[in-house]
């Protein structure tokens, strides 16, 4: 594989994208000609041009937005320079260029429809520039809220995972536990966790503990049921094989059933993450005095829609990072699945 790679690369007679490892790649399959790259650069330059050369109707501080556009162009160009020596990076970059081009066009149009002409109703649709502006101006509070949300999320989510995995193992492994816990899990899976908000708010000492409880309630069910499923569906042949080479109960559980359940456990964790994101924001919007959900509500109350959008962008970023981290763990733990699934 590696020899093939270097051979294809060393051979001067073919163009970089004629290397079969690149031209037949299933993931980065978009056109390999430079045209889309330059169009992408151009579209961001156009967004910059629109912002600079067309006079705005609304007063916005445009500096952060211009810096953002300029750094996007700079980033594209430096990636391209780096990619000239690395055909694989180049194929990857070019793959995304059509999308980046569309993004540049979108930003130009957005700017035209908002600050430049006010075609979109003010103040519900602020310009990208004003969203970036409030992100810069209000960064201290936004950062504080983001960290607060993160703390709440992990407190509830990790509790949910730990208790979900352990109760799932018990349910999947021992029928007594299955008998007593399964109905509880099933019922708690039907009830949306947010229905507990009023009760939790009055019983639990504070909004933080309420949030932790709600996120725990949202994540426990998917993790526990998927774990139980993975444990109990372990093929008998693995247990029997292990028994014939001298394995005892503990080995059968932790070295056979649990590894077998790992793909399921991660599916449960990803589902739990999605549930928890919703629950996190809802619980912050209703009960809390801090966090991004609270920030959105508070911004709306003041009619500061730019701030609302800024918070939404931060939420998207924060949750993406969380999913990314889960993905990294998952790839590491499920390395053995590479080539079996997909």
């Amino acid at each position: 594989m590696n020899d093939e790679k270097t051979y294809a690369l060393k051979s001067k007679r073919i163009k970089w994208f004629e290397n079969p490892l690149i031209s037949e790649d299933k993931v980065y399959w978009k056109p390999k000609r430079a045209i889309w790259f330059w169009l992408a650069v151009l579209s961001f330059a156009a967004a910059f041009g629109v912002n600079v050369f067309i006079a705005p109707l609304q007063e916005t501080q445009i500096l952060p937005y211009r810096i953002f556009l300029a750094s996007a162009v700079f980033l594209l160009l430096s990636l391209h320079a780096a990619a000239l020596r690395n055909p694989f990076l180049r194929a990857k970059l070019y793959h995304y260029c059509q999308f980046i081009f569309a993004l540049g066009i979108f930003l130009s149009v957005w700017d035209l429809l908002t600050d430049k002409t006010s075609v979109l109703p003010v103040p519900y649709f602020p310009s990208a520039a004003s969203v970036l502006q409030v992100m810069v101006l209000d960064h201290a509070l936004i950062l504080k809220s983001a960290l607060y949300s993160l703390r709440l999320f992990f407190a509830g989510f990790l509790t949910g995972i730990v208790l979900g995995v352990s109760s799932g193992i018990l349910i999947g492994w021992a029928r007594q536990w299955d008998y007593w816990l399964s109905p509880i899990i099933k019922v708690s899976g039907i009830i949306p966790p947010v229905v507990w908000i009023p009760l939790a708010l009055s019983i639990l000492p504070g909004s933080f503990s309420t949030g932790v409880f709600l996120i725990f309630a949202a994540s426990w069910f998917p993790v526990a049921s998927m774990t139980a499923n993975g444990i109990s569906s372990t093929p008998k042949k693995y247990f029997e094989a292990a028994q014939t080479f001298g394995a005892q109960k503990k080995y059968l559980l932790f070295k056979v059933a649990v590894p077998h359940a790992m793909p399921n456990i991660f599916m449960g964790i990803l589902t739990a993450a999605a549930f928890s994101f919703t629950t996190l924001i809802v619980s912050e919007m209703i009960g809390a005095k801090a966090g991004l959900g609270f920030y959105i509500n508070w911004a709306k109350a003041w009619g500061a829609y730019s701030k609302m959008y800024a918070a939404i962008v931060i939420i998207a970023l924060e949750f993406s990072v969380i999913l990314l981290i889960i993905g990294i763990f998952r790839r590491r733990v499920l390395r053995w699945q590479k080539g079996i699934v997909k």
């Binding site: 029997e240 094989a241 028994q243 014939t244 080479f245 001298g246 080995y251 590894p259 053995w336 080539g339």
Partner: protein, 260 residues
Amino acid sequence: MTEVLIDIKNVNRIYRDDAGHKIYALRNVNLQILRGEIISFIGPSGCGKTTLLRLLAGLDKPQSGSLSIEGKIIDKPHFERGFIFQQPALFPWNTVEENISAPLKARKIYAENKHKAARYISMMGLAGFEKSYPHELSGGMAQRAAIARALLSEPKVLLLDEPLGALDAFKRSELQNNLIEIWQKTKTTMALVTHDVDEAVYLSSRIAVMTSRPGKISKIINVELGQNRDRNDDGFIALRKEILKELRLASISPQPEYNI
């Protein structure tokens, strides 16, 4: 030297079908397996070969009668009785190396026996594949890994349930020779279930022909062909005929499913 290793006495194993009728998977089976021999079990589908092997492994229990090894009753699985399934039951989440050394870890004797794993890996021709996962191996290699895993416990007996049934003709004969090599090196007692008359004659010191409904051993044939057997040798052909006749006598159409 004919020392009895395993003693099977009046073993009955009865299943019930959906209607509740009794199925005699094994009825009054008596057999002594000698230390160091390779004994094959051959017979039509459903005659209780797997049932017998599972009883020997301790994965199942008889309704009546007893099985014992060196005088001790077999009532649960033990690493002294290795088992090879038709489909190698390697753990897909472990590499070849981890799979083969799993018995050491299960028994918490890994640290002092690490070197053994390497020995069996190279003995089974798996060197270079230590870090591969089972799904990256061919069927033959996977089965060799499963055999290495069983051998690592240095079992008193290796129970093989159609271990080569899923392989093509070339892999089969290769693995048959592997089994002979292992036997020559370790003199491990083997009980081998097979559908293939040639395989039985090629490998065994004795062949137990079984019949179904009720499942029992109808005849035991001694194979006196010595080492380095030749499939075209007169003695070999005569034995093959005898076994086929025996299978036919049991009123079953003989089905040598694989011929090499």
